[in-house]
Amino acid sequence: MNLFHFILQNHEQVLELTLEHLWLVGISTLLAVLIGIPLGIVSARWPAWNRPVLGAANIIQTIPSLALFGFLLPVPWLGDRADRLAILALTLYALLPVIRNTYTGIRGVDPAVVEAGRGMGLTDLQLLLQVELPLSLSVILSGVRVAVVVSVGLATIAAAIGAGGLGEFIFRGLAMVNNQLILAGAIPAAILALSADFGLGWLERRLRPR
């Protein structure tokens, strides 16, 4: 039985696991954006925040993912459901690129433009929403793109704690020493990562300021 055949025969399960995978990545990316962009803004505006915020995000990034899942397992509400746990872990990993790029993007806005805006009497909020964020959007988006691509790969490990996703096939294949099963998980995951990379890259180029 070749791989193509296997996927065709089990297309319902492949689809289900792919959707689960997308859900894990999607929700965690959304959370990382909702938390990371404000943190990036805060550290760009108040430099004193920069080191602790980026430092913490950096440290999280160095924790091996399996270990992080293990650490979080005994936490009361979180440990109850594997997908909650996986989403939290993926969110934490996705934070660094989002925070760092938001910071870099805002800091990279032409100082003359910011000074002109300030001198014209824009409030801090108007400056942020009308000038700084629109002009750093493509840089922020490239951070989100990195976060998504990394998450797609990391999410396969979430199957180790029973959170589902395409990792199911991979772990099952490893246990059964079945390469086709491993590939049935790995190839759709790779396709997901590549299409997310391509799609967000396209959007990023569209939004790049002239």
Binding site: V113, E115, A116, G117, R118, G119, M120, G121, P209, R210
Partner: protein, 260 residues
Amino acid sequence: MEQRATESTVIEFRDVAYTLPNHQRLLSRLNLQVKRGETLVLLGRSGSGKTTTLKLINRLLIPSAGDVLVNGSSTSKTDVIQLRRSIGYVIQEVGLFPHFTVEKNIGLVPRIEGWPADRIRGRVEELLQMVGLESKLGSRYPHELSGGQRQRVGVARALAADPAILLMDEPFGALDALTRDQLQREFLALQQRLNKTVVFVTHDLREALRLGSRIALMETGRLITVLPPEDFLQSTDPLASAYAQAFAEASVPAANRGTS
């Protein structure tokens, strides 16, 4: 140099000093008045404190000592956003918003001040004409304009909400000589019509002589002297005469210098 503030004083510096957090002093004990409708030129080399002085007026910098008054009230007691919206600000790098069209750039302050859309459109049209730009340029983006056109848009943007005061920080400094000459001429014509109170920063004596009602000469954070342009070249002040001499030498072609 002590002058008494009169009714026509629009901007006043009272014993103003500005010191950086690292204790470097950029400006010491500045006393200066700017009168209604005049163009006061701050002349000096880089590091003389002229841009610092300018930014103290719209409170982009906050004085370390002393007080800056605009229309008789201390800028420390005025709402800083309202203060800045009532003062036009033009800088050398122009600082146009690259993601806005020319129209949106010029109309920004009116827009955040809540003007109705058709009034903004009319005002933008009027301003484009005032600074000598075709109205079809309104839909362009800043990167599609020449340096001179960008600076004209910068001036139009500063004039948008019709401020009584205009701060200009080497606005023509980055332009080629011909464009600069043309913009200076248009500035004079515009100023005759609009009668704004202008504070103009430059390091170029020729520009100062041409545009200024008075020239305030600055050096290492101090105000050296304030003179009308017609007296500047005859001044006995050593720094002023050094400027005058450099100016005179610059106007002699190199080939003639040995014989003079």
